[in-house]
C-alpha cells in the first residue's frame, strides 16, 4: 500500500472491466442454468447448505425474512393465472428459477462497499471477504437481485445453530461467519482454488469438468453447468457461444434482430449493466398440447 500506487492505478480500482480487450486470463468462471430442465426440487439449495456452512435460522427468523439460503428456488405462475378473466388453473405448470449471486462483472455491490470487503477477483468472481466486512449492508442495498445475506444474529455461538455434534459436519475449507457480516454465493470458491492449486502445480490450467460447484454436482437433471468461460473447450463457453450471449454486452445483438430470436439464452436484469456471469436458458412452452 502506498499513496503513489493508489494514484497511479486509480483507473484499475475495479480492474478487468468486461470492456477490457482481454478481460480475464486464464480464468473467467461462469454458469448457465437450463430452466427447461430445472424441476425446482431444491437439491441444489440443500447441497449449498452442506457445502458452505449455511446456518438454519429457524421458523421465527425465517418469518422475519432472515433466511440464509445462498441459492433460492423461485417459482412463478403465468401472469394470467388466478387473475380476473385469466385462467382458473396454472394448467401449463409453474416455472422454477434458481437464483443466487450472479457474480456480476460490474457489480453494483463492489463500488459501494466502504471498506472494499467485496471486490472483483481476477477470475471474474465477486469476492466477499468476511473478516474485512464492517456490516454497513450497502452492498445488499444496492444489489439488484437481492442475493446477499446478512448475519443478523450470531448464528454459530449465541444462536446455537450447530449443536455440538453438528459442528463436526462444518466444512473446514469455508469460514463460519459470525455476527454482523454479509455473505453470499461464492461459486464454491474453496473448490475452485483447490482445483487451481492442483493445476498450477502441474503447470496447466483447470480442465473443464475438473471442478464442480456443489449445486451443479448435485442437480439431478443436470440443469446447471459451470466452468471457465474463456476456455473454448468448456461446456459453458460453448453454450454461451451457441446462445449468442456475450459477457460484455448489456444488450445482446440477437435480441435486436427482426422477429426476435429462437435462442433461449438470456441474463436477468441485463439492461442495468451489472454484466452478470450467469446465463439462463428459457423454459420451453409446449405448443403441441
Amino acid at each position: 500500500m502506498s499513496v503513489s500506487n493508489l494514484l497511479e492505478n486509480w483507473s484499475q480500482f475495479r480492474h478487468y472491466h468486461p470492456v477490457d480487450d482481454k478481460p480475464h486470463d486464464p480464468y473467467k468462471w461462469a454458469m448457465s442454468i437450463d430452466l427447461d430442465a430445472c424441476v425446482g426440487c431444491n437439491a441444489c439449495s440443500v447441497a449449498c447448505y452442506a457445502e458452505n456452512n449455511l446456518p438454519v435460522v429457524g421458523k421465527e427468523k425465517y418469518a422475519h425474512g432472515m433466511s440464509m439460503h445462498w441459492m433460492r428456488i423461485e417459482h412463478y405462475w403465468d401472469e394470467d393465472v388466478g387473475e380476473e378473466g385469466g385462467r382458473e388453473f396454472p394448467d401449463q405448470g409453474a416455472q422454477f428459477l434458481p437464483m443466487m449471486c450472479q457474480q456480476c462483472e460490474a457489480a453494483p455491490c463492489e463500488t459501494v462497499c466502504p471498506v472494499g470487503a467485496t471486490n472483483h477477483t481476477a477470475d471474474g468472481l465477486n469476492s466477499q471477504i468476511y473478516n474485512r466486512c464492517v456490516g454497513s449492508r450497502y452492498c445488499e442495498a444496492n444489489c439488484p437481485y437481492k442475493v446477499r445475506y446478512f448475519n443478523w444474529y450470531d448464528y454459530p455461538t449465541t444462536d446455537n445453530v450447530w449443536p455440538a455434534e453438528m459442528t463436526q459436519q462444518l466444512n473446514p475449507d469455508v469460514t463460519v461467519r459470525g455476527k454482523g457480516v454479509m455473505e453470499k454465493c461464492t461459486f464454491c470458491v474453496q473448490r475452485l482454488s483447490a482445483a487451481k492449486v492442483t493445476a498450477k502445480s502441474e503447470g496447466r490450467i483447470v480442465h473443464d469438468g475438473e471442478v464442480q460447484t456443489a449445486c451443479q454436482q448435485v442437480c439431478p437433471v443436470g440443469a446447471i453447468s459451470f466452468g471457465n468461460l474463456i476456455d473454448p473447450q468448456s461446456r459453458v463457453h460453448k453454450q454461451w457461444r451457441a446462445q449468442q450471449v456475450e459477457l460484455d454486452k448489456d444488450r445482446q445483438a440477437k435480441d435486436e434482430k427482426e422477429g426476435g430470436t429462437n435462442l433461449r439464452g438470456y441474463r436477468i436484469l441485463e439492461n442495468m449493466r451489472p454484466y452478470p456471469s450467469v446465463m439462463y436458458l428459457e423454459r420451453v412452452r409446449e405448443s403441441a398440447i
Binding site: V46, L170, Q217, P220, V221, G222, V284
Partner: protein, 732 residues
C-alpha cells in the same frame, strides 16, 4: 483409493488439525494465538490420509428406498458431505435434497445414545448385556404366534438375518409397513405386466401421461426418474418430450408438466378409459369395455373438457412410444386397483409395454430382495394387536403411531402388546410407547447391504459402510443387534461371526463367484467391493407376461356431493419430508416446499375460488374436520388444486422426534378415515372427506415467496419460449 475395512476403522477416528479444525469464531479472532489450540496427530496414518485433504468413501443412501449410491467426503475422520456415486445406474452421481440431509440424520443432536428401559413413564439407561438378557427372558416360553416383528422395508443381508431370527422361534408375523408405499400400483402392475415394479423408460417416451405419479418429486426413485426426465425433455430424435399430468392436486411433477389437468378426485380411471375410447384403436373386449365411456360422459364425470380429452388422444396417437404412469393420486381410493388397472390398460392399448415399460432385472438371491412395505400389513398387525394376540412386539424403522390413520386407533391397540422392543435412532412417537428402546447406528456408521426395489439397469447390490467411527460409543448397528439376538437362539451356528461386519464379509465371500469376484482372492475382491460401493450384476430378467385384460374392470361413478363433508382431503407428499421420518433434519425443514415456499409448518391448500366461497384468505387458521378427527392449521390459497379438494402435506406435526420436528405443523394422518382398497386391502389415502371452518385466528404464513406473490413484474425474470421456436436436440 484402496481400503480394507479392518485398518480403515482406525483412520475413521476424529482428528483435529490446524488448518482443518472447525472454528466457530469465524470472524471473531483476528489475531495470531500461538499455543492455544492443540493439534491431535494420528498415531498411525495410512498414506492416503492427508490432513487438509478429503478422502471419499462409497456407500449407500438410506434416506429413502430408492437405493442411490453415495460418495461421502471424509476429512480428519469427520464425514462432511454426501455426494452421489457416478458409478451407480440409479443416481449416476446425482442426489436429492433428502439424501444430502443424511449427514444431519447422522449428526442429529437428538439421536439416542443409550439403551433405555421403561420405568413408569421414564426411560432408564441400561447396558446392552442387560437389554439382550431382558429380551431373551421375555421371549422365554412365548410361542412364535405371540411374537410380532414390525419393520419398514428391509433388504439385503439384514433381511436374511431378520428372517433367520424370526425362523429361530418359528415366528411368521413379520409385518413390513411403509406408510407411502405404492402398494396398489404394485398389485396392478403384477396383473398388467407380470411384474410389480417394471422398468419405466421415461427417456425413451415421446409423451408421458402420468396419473398422479410424482416421479420427479417423491415417487419410487425420484433421482433416477429426474435424470430420465432431463433426457426426455431434450427429446427423442429431435422431438421434445411432452408431459401431461392428471391429478387433483398439483405435485412437483405436475408443476413441470406441459399440461396439468385437474381431474375430479377418484375419476382418473374413468378418464383413462375415456382416452382409450377416444383413441378408438382398441379392439375386442377392451373396445367393448370402454364403449360406454364416450366423451360427454367422461367429461361430465371427470370435469375434464371434451376438447382436452381429444387433444390427449390425438397426441398419444401421433407420438409413439408414449408412457402412462399410475401413481399415488390414482391408487388412493377404495377402487384404487380399478383405477390403476384402467391406467395400465392404456399402456397396453398404446403398445408401450415392451418399449417404455420393460422387465426389470432381479437380484439372483431371492432371500435378499427387498421385503416391500405396504399399509395392508399395518391393518393386519393392528387387528392382531387389538385382539391382544402379541406378547412381544419388535419395531424397527417404522413409526406407525405417527403414520397410521387415526381411525385405526393404533396407539391404543399398541398398548395391548405385552413387551414392546423398539430399535430406533430417535425417540419417535412409536419408540416412546416401547418398553425397551435400543439405539441404532446411523446409516453412515453402519455396515450392510441394500437391494433397491426399483432396478435401473441390470441388477445391483449396494454396500453400506461406515464413513466414520461411531459418533456415540454406545449405539449399535441393526445387523450387530440381530446377530447378538441370533446368538442367543442358535449359538453354534453364529459363534464364528465376531460381529455383523464379519458375517457380512463371510457371506459375501461365500458367493464371490456369483457376485462377479471370480478368480480374485478374497481380500482384493472384498476391498474392491468396498471401494466401489456397488456390486453390479446381470441379474435375472423374466419377460413381462401380463395380459391386457379388462376382466373385472368396473369403475364406480364418482361419489356425488356429500353435504356434511363437502371436500376431498388430499394428504400430499412433500418431496423432502415424505412420511415424516426425516422431519428432524433442519435442512429439510428449512428448504421451502417448491410450490408454496412454506417452511417449518403445515398448511391447507385451497383453490382461490373455493376460498372466496368460504371467505378464507391466506393465513387464516382453519379447522379441517373429517369423520375421524380434526386438525387446525393455516390456509394457503393455491391455484393448482381441484376446487372440490383441499390438501395438507404429510410429515409435519410430530409430538416427538426432537427439537427440529416436535411441535411444528399438524399431522394429517390423524384425521384419515380407515378406508381400504377393495382388492389389495391397502389404505385408501385419498378417501377421506372433510369440511373446513374458519377459526377466526390469522397468522402470517412463513414462506420465501414475497408480497409479489410468485408473479413476474416488469422485468423478464424467468423467460419462456414456444417449442415451435427452439430445437433442444441441437443445443450444446
Amino acid at each position: 483409493m484402496m481400503d480394507s475395512g479392518f485398518d480403515r476403522r482406525d483412520f475413521l477416528k476424529v482428528m483435529g488439525w490446524s488448518g482443518a479444525a472447525v472454528a466457530l469464531s469465524g470472524c471473531g479472532n483476528t489475531s495470531i494465538e500461538d499455543g492455544k489450540e492443540t493439534v491431535v496427530s494420528y498415531v498411525e496414518a495410512a498414506d492416503y490420509v492427508i490432513p487438509g485433504i478429503g478422502v471419499y468413501y462409497n456407500s449407500s443412501c438410506a434416506q429413502c428406498d430408492a437405493g442411490c449410491s453415495i460418495n461421502g467426503r471424509v476429512r480428519e475422520g469427520r464425514v462432511l458431505k454426501l455426494e452421489g456415486n457416478p458409478a451407480s445406474a440409479i443416481n449416476r452421481g446425482k442426489m436429492c435434497g433428502l439424501g444430502q440431509a443424511g449427514v444431519q440424520h447422522h449428526y442429529n443432536p437428538d439421536r439416542l445414545r443409550e439403551p433405555l428401559l421403561r420405568n413408569g413413564d421414564k426411560g432408564e439407561t441400561i447396558t446392552w448385556e442387560k437389554a439382550y438378557a431382558l429380551i431373551a427372558e421375555k421371549l422365554k416360553g412365548v410361542s412364535g404366534e405371540e411374537i410380532a416383528f414390525l419393520s419398514g422395508g428391509v433388504s439385503g443381508h439384514l433381511k436374511v438375518l431378520l428372517g433367520n431370527y424370526l425362523a429361530s422361534f418359528g415366528c411368521k408375523n413379520h409385518f413390513v409397513y411403509e406408510a407411502l408405499a405404492p402398494g396398489v400400483v404394485r398389485a396392478a402392475n403384477k396383473k398388467a405386466y407380470g411384474a410389480e415394479m417394471p422398468r419405466y423408460n421415461i427417456n425413451k417416451a415421446k409423451v408421458v401421461l402420468s396419473f398422479g405419479a410424482d416421479f420427479i418429486g417423491a415417487w419410487v426413485s425420484p433421482v433416477h426418474f429426474s435424470q430420465q426426465y432431463a433426457q426426455f425433455r431434450k427429446g427423442v430424435d429431435g422431438q421434445r418430450g411432452v408431459l401431461i399430468q392428471v391429478e387433483p392436486k398439483m405435485t412437483l411433477t405436475g408443476a413441470n408438466a406441459d399440461r396439468w389437468i385437474p381431474v375430479r378426485p377418484g375419476t382418473e380411471g374413468i378418464l383413462a378409459l375415456g382416452i382409450i375410447n377416444a383413441l378408438g384403436t382398441a379392439t375386442g373386449d377392451i373396445a367393448a369395455a370402454v364403449k360406454g365411456y364416450d366423451k360427454a360422459r367422461v367429461s361430465k364425470e371427470t370435469g375434464v373438457p371434451p376438447g382436452q380429452i381429444d387433444k390427449i388422444a390425438a397426441i398419444l396417437k401421433l407420438r409413439s412410444p408414449s408412457l402412462v404412469l399410475a401413481g399415488g393420486a390414482a391408487e388412493g381410493y377404495a377402487h384404487g386397483s380399478q383405477n390403476a388397472a384402467a391406467i395400465n390398460l392404456l399402456n397396453h392399448v398404446l403398445g408401450n409395454v415392451g418399449k417404455t415399460v420393460e422387465a426389470a432385472a432381479a437380484v439372483p438371491f431371492p432371500q435378499m430382495v427387498p421385503a416391500k412395505g405396504n399399509t395392508a400389513a399395518l391393518k393386519s398387525l393392528n387387528d392382531g394387536l387389538a385382539a391382544g394376540k402379541y406378547k412381544v412386539l419388535f419395531n424397527y424403522a417404522a413409526n406407525p403411531v405417527f403414520t397410521a390413520p387415526g381411525a385405526l386407533k393404533f396407539k391404543d391397540n399398541l398398548s395391548k402388546a405385552g413387551f414392546k422392543v423398539a430399535f430406533a435412532h430417535y425417540l419417535d412417537e412409536t419408540a416412546l410407547q416401547a418398553d425397551l428402546v435400543l439405539p441404532l447406528n446411523s446409516a453412515l456408521e453402519d455396515w450392510g447391504t441394500q437391494v433397491p426395489e426399483y432396478m435401473a439397469e441390470g441388477a445391483q447390490i449396494n454396500i453400506l459402510q461406515p464413513l466414520m467411527e461411531n459418533l456415540h460409543p454406545n449405539t449399535r448397528g441393526m445387523g450387530d443387534i440381530l446377530l447378538a439376538l441370533l446368538k442367543q437362539r442358535r449359538p453354534e451356528e453364529y459363534k464364528n461371526y465376531e460381529d455383523y461386519y464379519a458375517y457380512l464379509r463371510a457371506a459375501m465371500l461365500q458367493n464371490k463367484v456369483a457376485l462377479g469376484g471370480n478368480g480374485k482372492d478374497d481380500d482384493s475382491f472384498w476391498n474392491e467391493t468396498l471401494t466401489k460401493g456397488i456390486i453390479k450384476l446381470a441379474g435375472t430378467t423374466t419377460a413381462l407376461s401380463g395380459k391386457a385384460g379388462v376382466a373385472g374392470l368396473k369403475l364406480p361413478a364418482p361419489t356425488e356431493n356429500d353435504e356434511q363433508y363437502p371436500l376431498q382431503l388430499i394428504p400430499s407428499v412433500n418431496i423432502s419430508l415424505r412420511d415424516g421420518r426425516h422431519s428432524n433434519q433442519p435442512w429439510l425443514q428449512e428448504s421451502p416446499d417448491p410450490l408454496t415456499t412454506i417452511v417449518w409448518d403445515s398448511w391447507v391448500e385451497i383453490h382461490p375460488k373455493k376460498a372466496a366461497e368460504l371467505g378464507i384468505v391466506e393465513g387464516d387458521i382453519v379447522e379441517v374436520t373429517s369423520r375421524t378427527g380434526s386438525i387446525k392449521t393455516q390456509a394457503y390459497l393455491f391455484p393448482g388444486i381441484h376446487p372440490d379438494a383441499i390438501s395438507i402435506p404429510l410429515g409435519q406435526g410430530h409430538e416427538a422426534l426432537g427439537r427440529y420436528a416436535k411441535g411444528y405443523g399438524v399431522n394429517p394422518f390423524q384425521i384419515l378415515d380407515a378406508v381400504f382398497d377393495r382388492e389389495t386391502g391397502e389404505l385408501a389415502m385419498y378417501e377421506t372427506r372433510v369440511k373446513v371452518n374458519k377459526t377466526g385466528q390469522r397468522v402470517i404464513v412463513v414462506k420465501d415467496e414475497s408480497a409479489a406473490g410468485a408473479k413476474q413484474i416488469r422485468e423478464k425474470i424467468a423467460g419462456r419460449v414456444s417449442s415451435d421456436n427452439v430445437d433442444l436436440s441441437k443445443e450444446v
